[in-house]
C-alpha cells in the first residue's frame, strides 16, 4: 500500500496543472447497495463505463455491488457487461476498456440487515485498497428501496466504514431519491444518516441537476449581462415550469400510487429548477455558496394554508385516452393500481417567492403523466409593453416576450419576440429565436448520472441537494399534501390521457388573466 504523510499530500502536483482533462478523481471504490436493481443496470453501470471510456475514471477504479441476490464476482461482471451493451449511449462495449473496467468489479452478497455482510464488505474494501492503491477512498451509493436506507447507514457505522482510513482519504455516500415521504419522514431520515455520516459526506442526488440545461440556467443567468437585469418583478410577469410525460406508470403502479405526481416530481426536480431560476447570484461557484442561495429561495416560499391549497392547487388523474394514435388505459385500469385510488397523476400549483426580487410574481408549476408529449421546460413570460403602440382599441394586446429554457428532450433556449410581417400594414407576429445544444455544439450531452457520480468522486457537491434544501422543499410540498387531506378529492379521473390535464388547471391560471404556454 502506498502510504503518504499529510505534509506530502498538501503539496500541489505541478504536473497536473493545465492538463486539458483536469477532472480525474483520485483512485477510489464505489460501492452500490441495491446492485441488482433497475437503476444500477440502466444508469449507474453504463454511466461508470462511459466515464471509463472517456478516461475520466481514475486508473484503479473499483466497483463493489452489494445486494441480496446470489451472484459472485464473475456473474455480476457478466450482468454489468449486459447492462452496458444494452443501456450505454456508447454501446457496444469496447473490449480494451472493458478489460480494465470489468476486472475491477466485485460482488458482496448479503441481506441488508445482516452485520456479517458489512464485515465482509469491509474486508473486501481493505483488500481492494491493498491491491489497487485506492487508499481508502470510498463512495457508497444507496440505490435500494428507501426503507432500507436507515439499516444500511447504521450497519456501515457499526463496522466503521463511515470513517476515513487516514487524513488523506475520503468516504462519501450518495443517497438516491426519494429523501423521505413527507417533512417528518425526511427529517427522520436526515437525522438517521446524520447520526453516522457528516453532512459534507452526504450527496443527495437529483439527476435533474446533472442535466446540461439545468446547469446552463446558472451560466445563462450569470455569464451573460443582458438577461439578469430583466430577471425580476419589474420585467417578469410570471414563470411557468412544466415537466410532462406521455408515459403512464409503466409497471411501477404500486410505487407510484404511494407517491403521486407531487412527491415524484414537485418536491425534488421542480423545486430544484425553481430555486436555480429564482436564486440570487452566489458570491462564487463553490458548493455551499450556490446552495445557500438556493435554499434562501425555498425559504421565501411560504407553505400553503388549507385555503391556499384550495385556491392555488389542482389535482388530476388520467382516464383512458389516446397517445400517438393508440388507445391507452386510464390510471385506475393500470396494472397493480387500486381501482378506487385517489392518487394524483397531475398537479398544477401556483407559488410565490416572497422576496425583494420576486414579490407578486406567480410561479406556475404543472406536471403530469399521460400528457401529449414528454417535455421539461422553464419559461419566463415578460410583462407586456406599457403602451400599445401597434394594437387597435379592442384588439388583443401584442403577445408578450417569452424566454423558454428547454431541459428535455431537446436541450435548448428560445426567445419569442414580435416581428413585423412584411407588407404595407403593421401586422405583428410572434417569432422565435432558437438555440439548440445538439446543433450548436454537435456533442451528445452526457447522461446526468455520469456527471453527478464524477462530481461526487471529486468532492464537488454543488449539484447535490443539501439537507436544508430537501427539508424546505418538503415543508412546502407537505403543506399541500396536508391541505388535500382536509378536502374531498376531485372526481377522478378528470383528464383524458393525451390531453394537457384537467380543465380546472386551465381555470387556475386563466383566473389570473394568463394562459399555459402551448408546448
Amino acid at each position: 500500500m502506498m502510504a503518504s504523510s499529510p505534509s506530502q499530500a498538501e503539496l500541489p502536483n505541478p504536473l497536473r496543472q493545465g492538463i486539458r482533462q483536469e477532472r480525474v478523481p483520485e483512485p477510489c471504490t464505489m460501492i452500490i447497495f441495491g446492485a441488482t436493481g433497475d437503476l444500477t443496470h440502466r444508469k449507474l453501470i453504463p454511466a461508470l463505463y462511459n466515464q471509463a471510456l472517456e478516461r475520466r475514471l481514475p486508473p484503479n477504479f473499483n466497483m463493489v455491488g452489494f445486494a441480496r441476490r446470489p451472484y459472485n464476482d464473475e456473474t455480476f461482471q457478466q450482468e454489468a457487461l449486459n447492462s452496458i451493451n444494452k443501456f450505454s449511449r456508447r454501446r457496444p462495449v469496447q473490449p480494451a476498456v472493458w478489460d480494465q473496467f470489468g476486472k475491477n468489479i466485485h460482488y458482496v452478497q448479503s441481506d441488508f440487515t445482516n452485520p456479517e455482510g458489512y464485515k465482509k464488505l469491509a474486508e473486501t474494501l481493505d483488500k481492494i485498497d491493498e491491491e489497487s492503491g485506492t487508499r481508502g477512498n470510498r463512495l457508497f451509493y444507496l440505490s435500494t428501496n428507501p426503507d432500507d436506507y436507515p439499516t444500511i447507514v447504521q450497519n456501515l457505522g457499526k463496522v466503521g466504514l463511515d470513517k476515513t482510513k487516514n487524513s488523506n482519504s475520503w468516504v462519501r455516500i450518495i443517497v438516491e431519491k426519494p429523501f423521505g415521504f413527507d417533512l417528518p419522514s425526511a427529517l427522520k431520515l436526515n437525522e438517521t444518516i446524520a447520526s453516522v455520516f457528516h453532512e459534507n459526506q452526504i450527496y443527495r442526488i437529483d439527476h435533474y441537476l446533472g442535466k446540461e440545461t439545468v446547469q446552463n440556467i446558472l451560466v445563462f443567468r450569470f455569464a451573460n449581462s443582458i438577461f439578469e437585469p430583466l430577471w425580476n418583478r419589474q420585467y417578469v410577469d410570471h414563470i411557468q415550469i412544466i415537466v410532462s410525460e406521455e408515459l403512464g406508470v409503466e409497471g411501477r403502479g404500486p410505487y407510484y400510487d404511494e407517491s403521486g405526481a407531487i412527491r415524484d416530481m414537485v418536491q425534488n426536480h421542480m423545486m430544484q429548477v425553481l430555486s436555480l431560476i429564482c436564486m440570487e447570484p452566489p458570491s462564487n461557484f463553490e458548493a455551499n455558496a450556490v446552495r445557500d442561495e438556493k435554499v434562501k429561495v425555498l425559504r421565501a416560499i411560504a407553505p400553503l394554508t388549507p385555503d391556499d391549497v384550495v385556491e392555488r392547487t389542482v389535482r388530476g388523474q388520467y382516464g383512458p385516452g389516446m397517445i400517438n394514435g393508440e388507445p391507452v388505459p386510464g390510471y385506475r385500469e393500470e396494472e397493480r393500481v387500486p381501482p378506487e385510488t385517489i392518487t394524483e397523476t397531475y398537479v398544477a400549483i401556483k407559488l410565490f417567492v416572497d422576496n425583494w426580487r420576486w414579490a407578486g410574481v406567480p410561479i406556475y408549476l404543472r406536471t403530469g403523466k399521460r400528457l401529449p408529449k414528454r417535455t421539461s421546460e422553464v419559461a419566463l413570460q415578460f410583462k407586456p409593453v406599457p403602451h400599445g403602440l401597434f394594437s387597435q382599441p379592442g384588439e388583443p394586446p401584442i403577445e408578450p416576450n417569452v424566454l423558454a429554457l428547454q431541459i428535455q428532450p431537446n436541450e435548448g433556449i428560445s426567445l419569442k419576440f414580435g416581428a413585423k410581417v412584411p407588407g404595407p400594414t403593421m401586422n405583428i407576429r410572434p417569432v422565435t429565436m432558437d438555440f439548440r445544444f445538439g446543433q450548436s455544439f454537435g456533442v451528445a450531452a452526457a447522461d446526468a448520472y455520469e456527471r453527478l457520480i464524477l462530481d461526487a468522486m471529486l468532492g464537488d457537491s454543488t449539484l447535490f441537494a443539501r439537507r436544508d434544501e430537501v427539508e424546505q422543499a418538503w415543508a412546502i410540498v407537505t403543506s399541500i399534501i396536508d391541505g388535500w387531506k382536509l378536502h374531498m378529492p376531485p372526481k377522478f379521473p378528470n383528464y383524458e390521457a393525451g390531453t394537457w390535464g384537467p380543465h380546472e388547471a386551465d381555470e387556475l391560471i386563466e383566473r389570473d388573466g394568463r394562459r399555459w404556454r402551448r408546448l
Binding site: 394514435g325 393508440e326 417569452v402 428560445s414 405583428i428 422565435t432 438555440f435 445538439g438
Partner: protein, 418 residues
C-alpha cells in the same frame, strides 16, 4: 440560431428549383438525408421518432458543404399549420400549396390524412421538407411537413398525433380544405387547440346552416379561436369596390334606402347543389354593416333564391341568380346590383340610384357603374385579380387576430335559413 426569413416578394412566385442530385453527389459531401431535404421527398418514420427524425434531417442539412462556410439550408418556422384531408389526391393538392407558401410563411405543416374506407391499420407517419430558392444570403429557406395517415378506425385517433408535434409557443393555424365535419371529435378537438380555423365555405353543402353552426362555435366554446373563410378573402375586391361607391359623401344617403339587391353567381350546371355561400356571406356583411335584420327565410328555386330582410322597418328583397358560365369558379360572384333612393323631408322619393359591379368576360377586371335618376351611367373599371388557393390562404395566414367583421357577417348569414 435558426434564422427567421421572410420575404415580401409575391407568395410562391419564386418556387424552388432543385440542385440536381448529380452535382451534389459529385461534391461528395452530401449524404442521403440532406438529399431528402433538398428534394422534398417524403420519408417514412416511426410514430415515436418523428421529432428525432426531423432533428437528424436538419442536423445533417445544417453542416456546411465542402468549400463553403455557411450551411446550405436554413430551417425556419413562424407557425404551425395543421391540415386535415381525405385521401391521397387531396394530400397531393395541399402538399403543393405548402411548398408554395414556404417562401413567405415558413412553417411546420402537420397534415392529417384520413382514409376511413380502407382496412384499419396502425397510424403511419412520414416527414419531408420544402425548400425555396436561396435568399440573398445564399441559403435556402426550408420548412418541414409531417404527414400522418389514419386508415379505417385509426382515422379517429389522428387528433392525438397533433398536440405532441406542435412547435411550442407558435400560433396554430388549422386549415380545413374540405367541408369540416362539425360533429366529429377530430374536428372539435383540433379546433380547441387552434388559434385560427381556416375553412372554405365553397365546400359547404348547406352553407347557411353550416354558417350558423360555425358562428355558434366561435362564440361558444372556442372563443379563443379566430375563424376565417377563404371565401371571405375572395369577397375582398367586391367589398372594396362596393365601399368605393360610397366614399363619395353625396352617395352615402342612398345606403339607408336600398330597395333591391341582385347578386349573380356561378352555379353548377345541374342546379342540384347551388352554392350560395359567398353570396350569403356578402349579404351577411352588408346586413351587419347597414343594420338589416332577417325578416323571412331564404326561398330557393333551383339555383335562384330570394331573401327578404328588414331595413329599418321596410322590407328589402335580395335576389340570388345562378348562372352557368365558368366551371372553375362555382359559387363565385359575377355581378352585384344595388338599387337605392333618397327621400325628401316629405318622405317622397327625391333621387334614385343604381350601383353595379360586374366581372368582365376575361374575369380580370370588373366594370362599375352608377346611374343617378335618368342620367347616363358613370362607368369605371377596376382590376379584379383572380387568386388561387395559395394566395387566399396567405391572406388569411397574415392575420393573427380575430376578424370581427367576418364573424358578424358569418353570424348573420347563418340566420338567413332560420
Amino acid at each position: 440560431m435558426s434564422e427567421i426569413v421572410t420575404d415580401n416578394s409575391k407568395n410562391g412566385v419564386s418556387k424552388e428549383t432543385l440542385v440536381s442530385t448529380a452535382t451534389l453527389t459529385e461534391a461528395g459531401v452530401v449524404d442521403e438525408v440532406s438529399l431528402v431535404i433538398e428534394q422534398g421527398e417524403a420519408r417514412e418514420v416511426s410514430l415515436t421518432d418523428i421529432e428525432k427524425g426531423l432533428t437528424t434531417l436538419w442536423q445533417s442539412a445544417a453542416k456546411p458543404r465542402a468549400g463553403e462556410e455557411e450551411p446550405p439550408v436554413s430551417r425556419a418556422c413562424v407557425f404551425n399549420l395543421v391540415i386535415c384531408v381525405n385521401g391521397d389526391t387531396q394530400l397531393a393538392g395541399v402538399t403543393e400549396v405548402i411548398a408554395s407558401i414556404t417562401w413567405s410563411y415558413p412553417c411546420r405543416a402537420i397534415v392529417l390524412v384520413r382514409k376511413p374506407e380502407e382496412p384499419t391499420s396502425p397510424i403511419t407517419a412520414s416527414i419531408s421538407a420544402h425548400c425555396q430558392l436561396p435568399t440573398s444570403t445564399g441559403k435556402k429557406v426550408c420548412c418541414e411537413q409531417i404527414t400522418v395517415t389514419g386508415r379505417g378506425e385509426s382515422a379517429k385517433g389522428l387528433w392525438s398525433m397533433v398536440l405532441p408535434l406542435l412547435v411550442p409557443d407558435l400560433p396554430v393555424m388549422l386549415w380545413w380544405p374540405i367541408e369540416p365535419p362539425l360533429n366529429e371529435p377530430l374536428f372539435t378537438r383540433l379546433v380547441k387547440t387552434a388559434d385560427r380555423l381556416i375553412f372554405d365555405s365553397r365546400t359547404f353543402a348547406r352553407a347557411s346552416q353550416t354558417f350558423a353552426r360555425l358562428a355558434g362555435f366561435s362564440q361558444d366554446i372556442n372563443k379563443d379561436t379566430a375563424f376565417s373563410d377563404l371565401s371571405w378573402s375572395r369577397l375582398t375586391p367586391w367589398r372594396n369596390t362596393l365601399a368605393q361607391f360610397f366614399d363619395n359623401p353625396e352617395m352615402r344617403p342612398f345606403l339607408h334606402h336600398i330597395s333591391n339587391v341582385e347578386i349573380h353567381y356561378e352555379a353548377p350546371y345541374d342546379d342540384e347543389h347551388p352554392n350560395f355561400a359567398e353570396a350569403l356571406l356578402l349579404v351577411g356583411w352588408l346586413a351587419s354593416q347597414l343594420g338589416w335584420q332577417p325578416a323571412f327565410t331564404l326561398q330557393r328555386k333551383g339555383s335562384n333564391a330570394t331573401l327578404i330582410l328588414n331595413q329599418a322597418g321596410a322590407p328589402l328583397t335580395i335576389h340570388f341568380n345562378g348562372h352557368n358560365e365558368r366551371k372553375d369558379e362555382i359559387g363565385g360572384i359575377t355581378k352585384i346590383k344595388l338599387e337605392a333612393y333618397t327621400l325628401d323631408k316629405y318622405h317622397t322619393v327625391l333621387n334614385t340610384a343604381t350601383f353595379v359591379v360586374e366581372l368582365t368576360n376575361d374575369f380580370e377586371r370588373a366594370i362599375t357603374s352608377i346611374t343617378l335618376d335618368d342620367n347616363p351611367p358613370l362607368t369605371g373599371s377596376v382590376l379584379f385579380p383572380q387568386r388561387d388557393t395559395t394566395e387566399l390562404l396567405c391572406e388569411d395566414l397574415n392575420v393573427v387576430r380575430r376578424d370581427q367583421l367576418f364573424e358578424a357577417a358569418l353570424a348573420l348569414a347563418g340566420r338567413f335559413s332560420h
